[in-house]
């Protein structure tokens, strides 16, 4: 599996490019980083890859998933997972049901599904959290659930938009290690938007520096 961006950029409705075109290949298990000054369009780049751009923007260049062009494929069919700054756990569902919502429908049988969710909870060190209300979890716990939920959907690629920036330093470090381990274990490419050089260094993967066009 791989994610490739070929001279990818985003233009506004007045045909102004937001940033210089991006070229990168991310292999399975690798965590690439996008860096750049704030406001340059890191989130917009991720939205372009994931297919979440609002209609005011358009994409130039190509996004390739395992060699196949997906630039204009509907979001629903892309299988590109995304993690935002906020965990966005659905408040009306329990922690377990949040994970069940994410878990791919390829996994069938309610017992089987439940077992996978329990396993994911265990990996995130959240045993016995199935029936908890997400609002009662700490920030770090919520982030871990959000990450597991995204992974359970079995995405081909995971995009991460500064997902840990709201956590304190120590927790951020732990989450980062957890994330990198998951990338290796699931063997999928990941693209992490960050403004922390230390984070990019720790990712030890390809690096994109986004510059205003």
């Amino acid at each position: 599996m791989s994610l490739e961006l070929r001279s990818l950029s985003v233009t506004t409705s007045t045909h102004v490019s937001l940033f210089t075109a991006v070229d990168i290949v991310i292999a399975s298990g690798e965590v690439a980083c996008v860096m750049g000054p704030s406001g340059v369009g890191k989130s917009t780049l991720l939205n372009a890859i994931g297919g979440h751009l609002s209609t005011h923007f358009s994409v130039t260049g190509e996004v390739l998933l395992n060699g196949e062009k997906v630039t204009h494929k509907p979001v629903v069919e892309r299988q590109i997972g995304i993690l935002f700054q906020d965990p966005l756990l659905f408040p009306h569902l329990t922690v377990g049901d949040n994970l069940a919502f994410g878990l791919s429908s390829n996994v069938i049988g309610s017992k089987n599904r439940r077992a996978q969710i329990e396993q994911a909870l265990e990996q995130a060190q959240l045993q016995n959290f199935y029936h908890r209300n997400p609002a009662t979890l700490s920030g770090g716990q919520q982030s871990r659930v959000a990450l597991m939920r995204a992974l359970l959907a079995q995405p081909q690629v995971l995009l991460l938009d500064e997902p840990f920036s709201k956590l304190d330093l120590e927790l951020r470090h732990t989450m980062r290690e957890f994330l990198f381990a998951q990338a290796k274990q699931r063997n999928i490419p990941m693209l992490l938007a960050t403004h922390e050089p230390a984070e990019a260094q720790a990712a030890n993967g390809p690096l994109v520096i986004l510059m205003p066009a």
Partner: protein
């Protein structure tokens, strides 16, 4: 209780005396009468005769069925359409259809229907759908081959379908706008992105993730719609079947019967309507909770496909048609009001006349004068009260916040007819019936809760740090109140006021029952003229009824822009 919190206690007392006591007293009078005690007609002994009489009245079962079908049907369909319409507003797709270009204007399109009183929409809809209505004229004779109006019961049909349709048209904009406001409290776009990235379609994402978070926020408005639809009298009179009519209208007729002995079964019918409404609200809530619970369980399968296509297909067609019918209903009123000659099957009038409007200007009818006075005073009072209540809550804390909210909304949750009749009896005894003051106060009972309903979220959403900053700069709390809160909230305050005007203008029963025929109103005039033959005059009154609130809305929406331009 400390002395310094006296404004809070004053407010609570005012709410109790102004709303709770009279509503309960009115209900009490009605319940006494239902059990045989009505001194005014010489009945002093407790008995259940009224109930025997009620159950022997012809058509009672049909009336019950009609009320239930139109009440539940209208609430369910308008809620579905409102939820679907909200989903449409948030749906971004690469293929832009011609309708999606209307998205930025969707709220502006809904305002006229929201502003127009129920009776105006009902009259307009009747002018559209009747066998001799505008729709039949538009398609005749080239398509239908009708040279004369066909002999079909398209309005006031036996099943109450046109009544249900009228209710849907009128309630859709209310529920839709309420939903759009509530959705601002939910991070909709990012949740949709997230859900879609997991492979769920927009519709599946909306149904499984957004609606369950939205519904608890609009539960109260949905109840208000359900109660209104079950208990409306003016709309049932204009669009519902006549014999037998819905329970609410039947009750009203028994009250108005020349045989005063019918007052007792009429009161029993009021109580029955109250019980029916309570049971309906309960049933609705049980069903909603069951559906929510089942859908939560279904989520666990992770099924992404969901079979929504037929359903969305129907709603995609029904939504624009419903809105169009609402706008056309108002347009046809305008057309008739300036018609001189318009014979069947011409698509448009053949000659025009502004006579009725000229007459209106030279000789302003009492109905317009009274309606304006009552609307201006009751909406102004309601807004002042709402601000006072919210400010008192802010300053002195809200121990009774929840319970007082229920006080305030109480008049919207009990059937009007059930306590208005009792109040009328009470006022008669006190010799207060038929005065402008009591009518205004009766309007206030309904205007105040709607004003609160529209204001409370914006007021609470105001960032309290502005006030903290201002206080820390040495401003007094009064100065903060005037210069910070009221000026930042100018737009929602004006909107709440406009909603107050619209609610007051649309009231039918309160003016009719408490006014005792001495206080006129546009709605009473329009409803009673509607049974007559002169469509031009009905058009004038129907449109006038819609224009007054529309002017108030326009003022409320434009003034803040003018103020902003000046800055």
């Amino acid at each position: 209780m400390s002395l310094s919190s006296w404004p809070k206690w004053l407010m609570l007392t005012a709410l109790a005396v102004g709303i709770l006591v009279p509503v309960l007293a009115g209900l009490g009078e009605t319940i006494w009468a239902a059990f045989g005690i009505l001194p005014a007609i010489g009945r002093h002994t407790l008995s259940v005769d009224a109930w025997h009489q009620l159950f022997e009245l012809p058509g009672l079962v049909t009336s019950l069925r009609l009320s239930l079908v139109s009440g539940f049907g209208a609430t369910l369909v308008s809620l579905m359409l409102a939820l679907f319409g909200s989903a449409w507003v948030y749906h971004t797709s690469e293929k832009e259809s011609s309708l999606s270009r209307l998205k930025p204007f969707s709220q502006a399109i809904l305002v006229p229907i929201l502003a127009a009183p129920h009776a105006a929409i009902a009259i307009g809809l009747a002018f559209l759908l009747a066998p001799s209505g505008w729709l039949a004229r538009l398609f005749s004779p080239w398509l239908t081959a009708w040279d004369l109006p066909p002999n079909l019961a398209t309005v006031q049909d036996l099943w109450g379908l046109s009544l249900t349709l009228g209710l849907i048209i009128k309630e859709l904009p209310f529920l839709w706008l309420v939903s759009l406001v509530a959705l601002k409290q939910i991070d909709v776009s990012r949740q949709l992105n997230l859900t879609q990235s997991m492979g769920y379609s927009h519709t599946a994402a909306w149904c499984k993730i957004i609606v369950p978070q939205l519904y608890p926020l609009i539960r109260l408005p949905v109840f208000v719609v359900l109660v209104y639809a079950l208990s409306t009298v003016d709309m049932a009179q204009l669009l519902g079947p006549n014999n037998p009519p819905t329970l609410a209208l039947a009750t009203m007729r028994w009250y108005n019967d020349t045989n005063v002995q019918l007052l007792l079964p009429a009161s029993a019918a009021s109580v029955l309507l109250g019980v029916l409404i309570a049971a309906s609200v309960l049933l609705w809530e049980v069903v909603v909770r069951t559906v929510m619970f089942t859908s939560k369980v279904m989520i666990r399968s992770g099924d992404r496909t969901g079979k929504y296509s037929i359903f969305t297909g129907v709603l995609t067609t029904a939504l624009p048609i419903t809105v169009m019918l609402g706008l056309l209903s108002l347009l046809v009123l305008a057309l008739w009001s300036i018609t001189w000659r318009w014979s069947f099957p011409d698509a448009l009038p053949t000659s025009w006349s502004y006579n009725y409007w000229l007459q209106l200007i030279t000789n302003v009818p009492l109905a317009l004068q009274h309606s304006l006075i009552v609307a201006l005073i009751s909406s102004g009072l309601a807004l002042t009260l709402a601000i006072a209540w919210l400010e008192v809550q802010d300053r002195f804390g809200g121990h009774f916040y929840k319970i007082t909210l229920w006080f305030i909304y109480l008049p919207l949750l009990v059937p009007q007819i059930a306590f208005l009749y009792g109040l009328k009896v009470g006022f008669l005894r006190l010799g207060l019936n038929g005065s402008m003051m009591t009518v205004m106060w009766a309007h206030l009972l309904f205007v105040f809760p709607y004003t609160m309903l529209s204001l409370v979220d914006s007021w609470r959403a105001l960032d309290k740090r502005y006030v903290q900053v201002a206080t820390s700069l040495g401003r007094s709390s009064w100065s903060c109140f005037w210069r910070i809160k009221l000026s930042l909230l100018l737009r929602p305050l004006l909107l709440a006021w406009a909603i107050g005007i619209a609610v007051s203008i649309s009231q039918y029963l309160p003016t009719l029952m408490i006014g005792a025929g001495r206080v006129e109103s546009l709605t009473i005039e329009a409803v009673s003229l509607a049974s007559g033959a002169d469509r031009r005059l009905v058009g004038v009154y129907g449109l006038l009824q819609a224009l007054v609130p529309l002017l108030a809305y326009s003022f409320a929406l434009l003034l803040p822009r003018l103020v902003a331009l000046k800055k």
